[in-house]
Amino acid sequence: MRSIRHFFEQSWLLIAASFFFGLLIAITNAALSPKIEQNRNSKLNELAGGLLPDATAFTPIAETIEIQALDGKQQRLVVYRATTGDRTAGWVFQVVGSGFADKIELVVAVDAAFATIAGFDVLASNETPGFGDQIKYSYYRDQFKGAPTDGLTLVKGGDPTTIDAQIVAITGATVSSTAVVRAMDHYLPQIKTQLQQKGLIGHGN
């Protein structure tokens, strides 16, 4: 009996404070979580809206898409359907490539038939400033706008303005350029097959 009393004498403040702090966190979380959720969506909408300017809404599809990541793990991917009115304008999803120093997170948009890439944007990367981080700049990114979704190759020289399956590497940042192309080549065909199996896009082309 005495030991229990001793325990409470010593720790009542700790116990009271834990309850109080728990309550404080719960209140803040309850007040702010809708706003945080909204921010997360608007960030993706903003990036995706830049890639698919025609689209008016982005909604995650109900079907689960299972893909194999670059490191061989199975993972679940959320694919967003971009719509203009009732018509599907394209598909948007987030993939992760393996860059020079760390992971590169990309948001990729493709057209409604999954035939050509509409564009990509870098969500997060840790590439060397001045070299690898040039993958964020438009002269590299623009090469992907309209490029086919399967079989991209990286070339060292060439004309970056022509739109084809050949992507011209950034001078001094071959690893980062390769990382983007490899991520595209790895993920896009998988997602395409999955969407075809689920009957969301046609089997044509």
Binding site: Q10, S11, L13, L14, A17, S18, F21, L24, I25, T28, N29, L32, S33, K35, I36, N39, R40, K43, A124, T128, P129, G130, F131
Partner: protein, 206 residues
Amino acid sequence: MATDSDGQTCVYKNTLLAGLWRENPVLRLLLGMCPTLAVTAAVKPAFTMGMCVVFVLVCSNVMVSLMRNMLKPHLRILMFTLTIATFVTIADLLLKAFQPDMSAALGPYVPLIIVNCIIIARAEACASKNPILLSIVDALSMGAGFTVALCVLAGIREVLGTGKFFDIQVMPKAFVPWAALSMPVGAFLTLGFLLGLVALITKKRS
């Protein structure tokens, strides 16, 4: 403050000034080095980090000061940690809600404020011994000192590393950015030379 006796006013004034230079947490006491180096590639994240630290510092100092007479000595550090962790969680939620870009940029360095030695040092050295008002003044002064040091460091790194200040181009077009300053190496070198400069100034004054 002025209504108090002269000695009292003096204490407040001293506390207020201490954090900015004499006991500047970063430049003089070398506390909280981890965020100092990690988030100072640009001024905006550095300033945001500074504000987060001010928020956590003020809240935890108030809390600790309120319960200073009830603290059991051996559970003291645990109480401090719990208080700080709670307010850091709240700061993190606030940042996610109102500054989502900054929250993404600062990443794990926001929760790492929990183990920032400045906050626990102030709780131990000041708030657990002094009344609320003095604890708040102390928190504000230390927080301001931390923020200023971070912004100076970030200012140097951003202007020379990218040619911008607060995301606005300030250097002439012909200026070639010293990209190395935006990388980890830039953080170490700039802080090293800044501390050297502070040591030089202190020596000249005395």
